[in-house]
Subunit: 190 residues, 2 copies
């Protein structure tokens, strides 16, 4: 499979921000908001080797004297940056909003300094459109459920999902307004 996995995407996104070792990346997954990624060595080190084999990342200065520990600090290569930008710039599809992986918001988060502001605005527009239409469909299903069942947990759980999505829709509208009006601010373009 030539497809990049969600973990691999997270790794190159973090490496774009600054060169790091596998251990550093594990600690990020273990302690920050990216906790939903496993910090197990069995996933991260193999993923790093896959990325290295593809030429997207490279260990910098194999015989680094400044670092006595046997750390391997990786940096993003030019090809890696291209792959990152390509992944970030993917249009937001209905599948994306349904699966709601950590992946989607990570795509938006990694846009800083990597793509023009227009791409971020496009993301938000797509996101609003796809999520909006999906929520509308779910609301229809909710009405049907409410008709057949009373207030029981199935309906309530369903409602929880819908309300979470509505909060995200609301966020997207505000974020778009913020980014759109920021014509005076320094451009995001790399």
């Amino acid at each position: 499979m030539n497809q990049i996995s969600s973990l691999e995407f997270a790794l190159i996104g973090l490496l774009q921000q600054r060169p790091q070792s596998g251990y550093d990346l594990r600690k990020t997954f273990a302690t920050t908001a990216m906790r939903h990624y496993s910090d197990s060595p069995g996933s991260i080190y193999p993923a790093l080797r896959r990325l290295e084999a593809r030429g997207w990342i490279a260990a910098q200065d194999p015989t680094q004297p400044a670092d006595s520990r046997r750390r391997r600090v990786f940096r993003l290569t030019t090809a890696g940056k291209e792959a990152l930008v390509a992944r970030i710039s993917l249009p937001v599809t209905r599948e994306d909003v349904i699966w709601q992986g950590p992946e989607l918001m990570l795509r938006f988060a990694f846009m800083d300094g990597n793509v023009p502001r227009a791409t971020a605005l496009r993301f938000l527009e797509d996101f609003e459109r796809e999520l909006g239409s999906y929520v509308e469909e779910l609301r229809g299903q909710l009405e049907q459920m409410r008709a057949s069942f009373p207030i029981h947990t199935g309906v309530l759980a369903f409602q929880s999902g819908i309300e979470g999505m509505e909060a995200q829709l609301d966020w997207a509208r505000r974020a778009r307004a913020l980014l759109g009006e920021a014509g005076a601010a320094p451009p995001m373009q790399c």
Copy 2:
């Protein structure tokens, strides 16, 4: 591994509602709000065979005359129902709310008619407590981010996650009020 997977849990939860064939279950995953589960035959049929091997589900009436198609309709066994109830009744941990899999809300949704109302209330209390403390932690991280970066996409994406969780917290409070006051309604107990 003796652990039940998220897919297996979804399958026995659906089979508890009514006996169904693998194809029926696939269609549910393909067309309803449970779309985040794959409807690929390569995942569902092997999972059904695993559940059958464990004795949690059974094909009813192998030589059903009423159904000319060669469907295998599965029903939940007593052991299967026990496993379902055990999984549903698990306390909500911090890990659960962080991973936010489809799993957690499914647990709540499948409570109808399977566990006493107290279990549902307990779920909501745990959920509020764990998610509340996690959101608080994330809000601290957000403030740090906001200090170092301007309004850029990383901060915005972070905020989106927090707002989604806050919507769920709000939902949990309302759901708890609804379930708690419903002393007059027919009990959920099986």
